[in-house]
């Protein structure tokens, strides 16, 4: 097996299998609750031909075979109340969370009762899926989230797609 560099010319490249960066965004704020998939269906990439697609209804992220993947989500949530907590993770197509043993790393925010922090800016959390033997289909899902919360349009996913042959 040989991993290949981006070996194209200029900014578009001509390599058969370049390493690519792919960005997924939403462009709009979306209401979310427990079980919701984060839908980030606007796709930009450093190079055409990556084959990554996102279902604009379900949020399913399809990852073509033949690559290693590093998928990092940068997530901003407007919670419906200051006292709310949430957790977000990558799941397989059946909705089962991908655990650390399989390259899935969740993100958690838990409000704590003794120090109220009103009117503070949102911060971003990151969830990661990384694999040499990636699933063909993944979701970024709210494992726990109170109704009325909102995924902001600042949320994004960056995918590093590494070619191998």
């Amino acid at each position: 097996m040989t991993y290949q560099l981006f070996s194209g010319t200029g900014t578009t490249g001509t390599a058969a299998k370049p390493t690519r960066l792919i960005e997924l965004t939403s462009g709009i704020n979306r209401s979310v609750s427990t079980g919701s998939a984060l839908i980030l269906a606007s796709v930009r990439a450093t190079d055409a031909g990556h084959g990554v697609t996102v279902n604009n209804t379900t949020g399913e992220i399809s990852l073509p075979a033949g690559y290693d993947y590093y998928v990092q989500a940068s997530i901003e949530i407007d919670r419906n109340a200051n006292t709310e907590s949430f957790r977000i993770a990558f799941t397989d197509s059946g909705g089962t969370e991908i655990t650390a043993a399989d390259g899935g790393f969740d993100c958690v925010y838990e409000w704590h009762s003794s120090r109220t922090t009103n009117n503070v800016p949102n911060f971003t959390l990151s969830a990661v899926y990384v694999s040499k033997n990636p699933l063909s289909s993944i979701f970024l899902k709210c494992m726990s989230m109170t109704s009325g919360s909102v995924m902001t349009k600042e949320t994004s996913i960056i995918i590093v797609q590494v070619a191998k042959s």
Partner: protein, 142 residues
């Protein structure tokens, strides 16, 4: 100097995480990563980089004590400080996240990389536990 993903038989990607919770972290301690993936060099507390790499580290914390831990971190590459990061851990059981991490860039391979606590406040020992430490690396060539 410019960097591009490394070409060769190893994936450019590697990562490692800690399989169990860690408690009582003090200033100068290392956040353990006992489960390496796609990197063979591992010894207690860190990994042996096999190529020039860019690495990002973060941790997920929890705790039961009544204080708000603030933790400054960095990487150590063969004991040389590299990168800085900041973490706030909460005071409640099953608390909080990570995500504020730090980056390191190794100049060559064969460097021992550790993710380290450099400053903890208000006490010099974290009252919060560390549920999981994670590092994500990219082998590059320059």
């Amino acid at each position: 100097m410019s960097y591009s993903p490394i070409q060769g038989s190893n994936s450019p990607l590697f990562w490692a995480y800690n399989s169990s919770a860690q408690t009582g972290v003090q200033v100068g301690d290392t956040f353990e990563v006992d489960t390496p993936r796609e990197i063979t060099g591992h010894i207690s507390g860190g990994v042996i980089l096999d190529a020039t790499s860019l690495v990002y580290g973060e941790m997920q914390t929890s705790g039961t004590v009544g204080e708000l831990d603030k933790v400054q971190t960095n990487f150590l590459l063969n004991s040389q400080a590299e990168g800085r990061g900041f973490q706030v851990a909460t005071n409640k059981a099953d608390a909080y996240d990570c995500d504020d991490g730090t980056y390191a860039k190794s100049g060559t391979g064969n460097q021992f990389l550790r993710y380290n606590a450099t400053q903890i406040s208000p006490a010099p020992t974290m009252g919060s536990g560390v549920d999981q430490t994670r590092i994500f690396g990219f082998r590059v060539q320059s």
